[in-house]
Every structure is written in C-alpha cells, then in structure tokens.
Amino acid sequence: MIPSRLSALAALVALAVVPWVLARHQLSLLTDLLIAGLFAMSLDLIMGYTGMVSFGHAAYFGLGAYASALVLLHFAQPVPVALLAGALLAGAVAVPVGWFSTRATGIYFAMLTLAFAQFLYTVAYKWRDLTGGSDGIAGVPKTPLFWGGPSLASSRAFYFLVAACVVLSLFVCRAVVRSPFGRALQAIRENERRFTSLGRDPRPFKLVVFVIAAVFAGLAGALFAPFRGFASPEVMFWVFSGQGLMMVIMGGIGTLVGPVLGAMLFILIQEVLSSYTEHWMIFTGVVFVLIVIFLPGGLVGTARRLGARG
C-alpha cells in the first residue's frame, strides 16, 4: 500500500508545481486532459465497478456544459455556481434515464442509454433559442471564484480550479467504491444472479451509481464550458460517449485513476499524430487494437501486474 500512497503524493506535488514548469500551451493542454480525465473517471464508476457499459455518457457531460455556459452567460454568476448547476442538471436528468435504462442489462442497457443520449442531443441541437442549435453557445466567460474573489481568467488560475476538482472527485469516487455501497456494486458486477438470489434488488444500486456518475460527468462538462469558452452539441454526441469507453479501457477499467490517465493518453495520441498527418486515424486505430489485445488491464492494470511480478 505504501508505494501507491507515495505515488499519489508524488502526483499531487507534480500537479501543484507543473504550472511553473510547463509552457503556456502545455498548461492549456493539461487542463483539457484533466477535464477529459474527470469524464472518463465518472464513466468508470458505472462501467468498471458495476459492469454497466453506457453508450450515452457524453449526454451528461453535455448537460453540464450547457448549464454552466448558460449560467455564466446570462446570469454572470461566479464559476462555482455554474459548476453546481452543471452537476445538478446532469444528475437530475440521469434519474429518469437511469430508472428506465436499468431495466435492461448488457448491450440492451448500452443501447437504451444511447437512445436517451441521442434524444438529449437532439434537444440541444433543435432548441435554437436556448442552446444556439448546431452553432452552440460561444463566448462563455471565466467569472471569478466568488464576487470580489480571485480571478480565474488566467490559464494558471483555471488550471488550479480544474486540478482541484479532479483530485477532490477522485477522492469522493474512491470513497464511494470502498464503501459498503461500492462493495455491493462490485458484487452486482461479479454475479448479478447471485446478488438477486440473496434477496437483494440490484436496480436501486444501479440507479444511484448511474446518477453519481452523471453528476461527475456534468461537473467535467461544467468545467469545459468556461475553459473552452463554448458549448455545442458535439460534446453530447454518441461519438464522444464511445471515446469515453476507449479512454477507460486504455487507462485500466475499474481503477478510477487509470481512466484519468487513459483520457490523457487518448487525447495526446491524437494531438501528436494529427499534427503530423491527417491520416492519424489509421495510427490511432492500430494503437487501440494493440492495446486491447496486448494490454487487457490498460495502463494501470498492466503497471500493477508488472509491479506485482517484479
């Protein structure tokens, strides 16, 4: 346990000092990576710990982004208010969606979440008066932390906000999966029939974790809107949901911290390759195939296995 605590501490220190080490564009990129990491981590809660593969997780990221963008643009509230609005809206919408979707399991669950996500995407796409339709909402400001408080306009300040949110979320999610509730989720993942035969109903557990995951995805989206300055329907599209699954697998399913790293790797690969060639998708595809075949535990799973062996 000690090495993992040490590495956690090292990671925290690294997060704290990088703004003085990295160049400006690298810090912007890192902020982007952390936001994507938070999204992937929230997906891991349902996918890795409960075995529910959602093909519509981007919808909650998108809801968070839109709520945050609208609050910042129309009500000029401090950023934390927008974050709260984003997380709450995502969580609230996840209640009815989760209630219906958890009736099914496996691929049918995935398709139901997809259907609802596409519905939400269509709403965002068609409600032009509110959401700007396909053009989205641009010019979202970075308001201060609170009125009269520190400004978040600089890339360093916003980075710290994002880093703090990600680290806090990681701790909360860890606490969730280690609680009795989290152990029940893992029991459902391992053998849902057995769980049921013990006289317990898995659906309330699934619903609650689905909502929790949506809240964190909403938080990630709510950070995204002021950081990038816009929200548009693409962030709710099923392609982004699919990318989330890939991030989780690449980083290591069921490890929480793995998906954060997986998200970073996923975006970095594309970022680097796409600067060299517009045919970067070929190479990305090859990397996916190799990772799926040869690194079944993802980055973290493989590292742990090697660590245990050595």
């Binding site: 396909s134 995204f224 796409s274």
Partner: protein, 398 residues
C-alpha cells in the same frame, strides 16, 4: 498526392522533426506564420483540403519574395470538424507556434467557437469559408474578418436571379442546422418580397441518406423549383435520388452553393441545376485565368469554391501586411479596414463597420463542356458587391 503526403509525414515522424513546412532561404527575420486549424479528416474534410490546396499554391507563388521580405510559413492542424478540437488546435497554434493569423476553419460551429476566443488571444481570424451571417453581425468583433461570400449573400444572389426568372413557386429544403435553416429563412424572405411563393419547407437532418420522403413531398407541392441548402454529401445524395425519381426534370434544383465537389460526384444528372457560387472558376478575368492555370499545374484539378476564396484571402492578407509594414496585429487590422483588393473574380472592399468583404455575387448553372472531365458552372448573372452584401452588422438587405 495522398501517398506523397503520407511518405513525407512518415519520414518527418521518423526523423523526429516537426511537421511545419519551412521555406528556407537567407531571410533577415523569422517567418510570418499563418495557422490553419482546418477539418482535414471527417465528413467535411473536402473543404479543409480545399483551403490547404489554396495555401500550398499561395506558398509557392510567394516563395521568392515573401511578405515584407520575410518567409511565409503555414502550419496545418486537423480539427476533424469538431469545435472543441478546433479551439484546442487554434490555442496551440497561438500559444506554442506564435501564430498571429488564423484561417482555414471549416464549420460555422468551429468558427464561432474559435472566433470568440480571438479577442482574448489578440490574433486575427480570417474567414474564407464560413457562411454563418452571425459572424459579421451578432458575433462580430474587431479581430474577425470575412473575405468570403457569406450565406445570406449567396441566398441574395440566387434570389435576385430568380426574381427575373419565369419560375413562381418554390419548395425550400435546408439541412437541419444553422446554415440550412438560416439560408431557407433568408431565401423565403427575399422570394416573398419578389412577389413569388414558397409553397413548402423541410429540414432533413444532416447525414440523411434516403430523401425519398422529401422527394415525394416536393413532387406533391407542384413547385417550379426546389431551393437546396444541403452540405456537400447530402446535396450529392439528394440530386442522385431526385434524378432516379425523375424529379429533376419537373422541379428545377436551385442550390445555395453550386460546387464542383457535387458536380464530380453526381455527374450528368446534375446538368441544368442552377444556384449561387461564391467563386466559380470559370469567371473570365485575366487574373483568374492565370490562377486557374497555376492551380491546375500544381494540383492537376480545377479549383473549387474554397480554393479560390482562400487564395484570395491569403493574397489580400499579404497585401495588407505589406501596406501596414509590419505583422503587428493591431496595425494590420487598421490597414485592412476600408481597404480594396483586386480579387480573382472582381473588386473586393473590406467594410470597416463589420469586416465583411463586399464582392461580386454570381448565379450559375451546371453545364457540360467537352473541354472538362466533369460538369462545370456557367455564369448566368453577375451582381455587383453593393447589391448582394447585407446592411452593416445585419443579415438583412435594403
């Protein structure tokens, strides 16, 4: 062409050098950098590729003298047509590469997201592709310039032509996103003002692969013409299927943009379609004839709309930087406002009030010409800039 790109890139990656294409001569100062966060992959890639083709030709043409005696460097980044990626790539171009001029952005959603960031970054965004009226109206700011014909301007040109034509009843079919809906709105207003009738409208989703239901409706409406604001691939599919239903003979297709990309894919079934063109390569001016030849020599094909528009933008930008005597962003903006430029298809003027380039508008028809391997746009009417450019910072016409 593709293969050579690929090898160049693979070689570059292997040697560990960065992708930007340097044009090395003995220059006194560092290069003037132009960043192109363009959609080079994904379903809108053909437009990003057009912008890049134009930049490649421009880079070759200006290689000898440079701008202000400095070399010109283009840095291409692929956005995949996604606004989030576009902002990330643009930010990288600005913060890492020190680019002061951004251009080549393809989609309106990408353009609105990137443009909104430009005042913060203090860089110029030069649109050569984006049609959304809002960019020079509601979303206008000092750092944005639009060299190309906007969507409302295209709709205007076509409406002016139709006002004179014998056709009376129209059906309007626009893709279900901002450009499609805005174009149909603009068209409806102007056709109604010309005392003609829009007898039906519909908004198929982007990526529709079966237009049969819409074709049935258009036929039932007994319209004389159908106004189409569909993006590249959707337009191709519509025209193919309407041809198979025998509809194109009954209801004339009127395209918001009539592009070569469609003509190549649809072929003879498209002959007879009319529409507006932001840049028809068949414009008969000495400057354009020369451009088309140089373009064909380099790429082996004829320039499409955004090839021409992007080339014009780059040439104008170079002229303005030369006039300002510096690449300082604020001074370049001042020099550009209210300046004139002789474009490929006629005179251009950059309005100070909304940075929309006033330029000629065209109504064209798709025709066959044995000299070319595919149908080409034949110019039906040319309208002077004042007639097709909307009132300042609006999407309306006087």
């Amino acid at each position: 062409m593709r293969r050579r790109d690929f090898l160049k890139v693979a070689g570059g990656a292997a040697a560990g050098v960065s992708a930007p294409i340097y044009l090395r001569t003995a220059w006194a100062q560092g290069p003037i950098k132009i960043g192109m966060p363009a959609a080079l992959s994904g379903s809108n890639a053909q437009y990003g590729i057009q912008a890049r083709r134009a930049a490649e030709l421009f880079a070759r043409d200006i290689k000898a003298k440079g701008i202000l005696g400095r070399p010109v460097e283009f840095i291409y980044e692929d956005t995949g047509g996604d606004p989030a990626t576009a902002v990330r790539k643009a930010q990288k171009l600005v913060e890492k590469d020190g680019v002061k001029f951004l251009t080549g952005v393809v989609l309106s959603s990408e353009a609105l997201a990137v443009s909104a960031k430009c005042p913060e970054w203090k860089v110029v965004f030069m649109s050569t592709i984006n049609g959304a009226g809002a960019l020079t109206a509601k979303a206008f700011h000092r750092y944005f310039f639009r060299v190309n014909t906007s969507g409302p301007m295209g709709a205007r040109a076509v409406s002016l032509y139709l006002a004179e034509s014998p056709m009376k009843r129209f059906f309007a079919l626009g893709s279900d996103y901002a450009w499609g809906r805005d174009s149909v709105g603009s068209f409806t207003t102007q056709i109604t003002a010309a005392k003609k009738e829009v007898v039906g409208t519909d908004f198929p989703p982007v990526g529709t692969k079966d237009f049969a239901s819409y074709i049935a409706k258009i036929r039932q409406s007994r319209a004389d013409g159908v106004y189409l604001a569909l993006p590249g691939q959707d337009a191709t599919i519509y025209l193919k299927q309407a041809h198979q239903f025998g509809l194109n003979r009954e209801v004339k297709p009127i395209m918001e943009i009539l592009e070569l990309e469609n003509m190549k894919a649809v072929g003879d079934a498209m002959v007879g379609a009319i529409g507006s063109s932001r840049y028809p390569f068949t414009v008969d001016t000495p400057k354009n004839r020369d451009f088309v030849k140089r373009f064909h020599d380099l790429h082996g094909i004829y320039p499409d709309m955004f090839d021409g528009e992007t080339y014009e933008g780059l040439e104008w930008l170079a002229q303005v930087i030369g006039k300002a005597g510096t690449d300082d962003v604020e001074k370049v903006i001042d020099a550009w406002e209210d300046s004139s430029y002789e474009g490929l298809e006629g005179p251009f003027f950059m309005r100070k009030c909304d940075h929309q380039a006033v330029q000629p508008g065209f109504a064209v028809e798709c025709v066959k010409d044995p000299k070319y391997p595919h149908p080409i746009p034949r110019i039906l009417a040319t309208y002077p800039g004042e007639k097709v450019t909307p009132k300042c910072r609006t999407e309306e016409f006087s």
